[in-house]
């Protein structure tokens, strides 16, 4: 290694098994280990500047993949709210059923894809871009509780998200114990 080059480098201690694995990955991609590690560190710094860890960002990426697999698309929020408002009054039951069935599909998919499908579902609700400001999940041996809060979703959308959660949880093998739904607030309790 030339002196000039070594002046621009620093040695960092890391677990040997991880270094070996990354070395193999760099070889597969036809990159030098040094360049490969630089790319990783660049992204770690970028993640930090976005106020996230790489773990959080990869978790979110996996959730976005769930949406893609489910055939979800980005839609203007105003259109969604308008459509719900106009159709809910006359046909609220069938809309609820549609969201329930969609939730069931997500539940089945999460069960297949994630080891801890319940945690993945919690993450999906938090990061699902459904305007939920807070999503709490309390897990104990006998029950699972969800509490979702949003400052600005309509009564109708609140009800539909509640049905979605129920659908997913039923697919994950839980039964509804208690439900409470108020504009922007959902509280659900499930048992195994």
């Amino acid at each position: 290694m030339s002196k000039e080059r070594s002046r621009n480098q620093k040695l960092i201690r890391a677990p040997a098994d991880l270094v070996s694995k990354l070395n193999e990955a760099a070889n597969r991609e036809g990159k030098t280990f040094y360049n490969y590690v630089s790319e990783i560190f660049e992204q770690a710094v970028r993640a930090y500047e976005m106020n996230h860890s790489l773990k959080e960002i990869i978790d979110n990426y996996e959730i976005l993949e769930v949406h893609k697999e489910a055939g979800a698309i980005f839609t203007p929020r105003d259109i969604l709210d308008h459509l719900i408002k106009k159709t809910y009054q006359e046909d609220g039951k069938s809309l609820q059923q549609l969201w329930y069935q969609t939730g069931k599909w997500y539940g089945i998919y999460l069960k297949e894809k994630f080891e801890d499908s319940l945690q993945a579902f919690h993450h999906l609700l938090k990061e699902g871009r459904w305007d939920l400001n807070q999503v709490f999940m309390k897990r104990n041996q006998k029950t699972i509780e969800f509490r979702c809060v949003s400052a600005f979703i309509s009564q109708e959308r609140t009800m539909l998200i509640k049905k979605f959660i129920e659908g997913a949880m039923h697919s994950l093998g839980y039964k509804t114990q208690e439900t409470e739904c108020f504009k922007g607030i959902i509280r659900l309790k499930f048992s195994p």
Partner: protein, 185 residues
């Protein structure tokens, strides 16, 4: 646990050390980073793409988009179409498109946004020739109503960007529209 030394670019190593000092030890922080890099590798994705996607979601949210299963939005659109009638529904999508046209305020930016956020489209192309503009959009044959409404959304956006619709063809899965530069724009 066995340890190895890895050579890192000086500026990055310094930055990583600085961040680590706020979080704990450098060793633990580097360990976390490398573990996630391996996780990404095992998922078959590149860290850069993952971070780009994260940015995409943020900008989508800022622009007022929401992720929703297409089945739901198509079903809602069809129900509302039957109840409210063609005219009102088309107006809603057209006006929303106008808002986005004004929001992006640039043809290229709007094209980029459509390609990014409507990932169900297998093709979206805007071809400019002099004063004329041709829009081609291909997607899965999911619904009859949705492409009609989506075409109004696109028309509204392009109208706000200074183009008037000359002619168009919309069928299941295909939207083909031809525009000309609006007078005075």
């Amino acid at each position: 646990m066995k340890r190895k030394l890895l050579a890192a670019r000086l500026d990055l190593a310094d930055k990583i050390s600085e961040i680590a000092s706020r979080k704990g030890t450098l060793y633990d922080y580097v360990n976390d980073i490398l573990e996630q890099a391996i996780r990404a590798e095992e998922l078959g994705i590149r860290l850069k793409e993952v971070l780009d996607d994260r940015w995409l979601i943020k900008t989508a949210r800022d622009a007022g988009f929401i992720v929703i299963p297409k089945k739901i939005i198509c079903e809602l659109a069809e129900q509302a179409y039957a109840k409210l009638g063609k005219k009102k529904m088309k107006k809603l999508w057209y006006e929303t498109g106008q808002w986005y046209g004004k929001y992006y305020d640039d043809l290229k930016e709007f094209e980029k946004a459509v390609k990014r956020y409507f990932w169900d489209l297998s093709e979206f192309k805007l071809a400019k020739k002099g004063e004329n503009l041709t829009l081609t959009c291909l997607s899965s044959k999911y619904s009859e109503v949705y492409p009609e409404l989506f075409s109004k959304f696109l028309e509204g956006a392009l109208n706000a960007l200074g183009y008037s619709l000359e002619e168009g063809e919309v069928s299941k899965g295909i939207i083909s529209l031809r525009f000309s530069k609006s007078k005075g724009k």
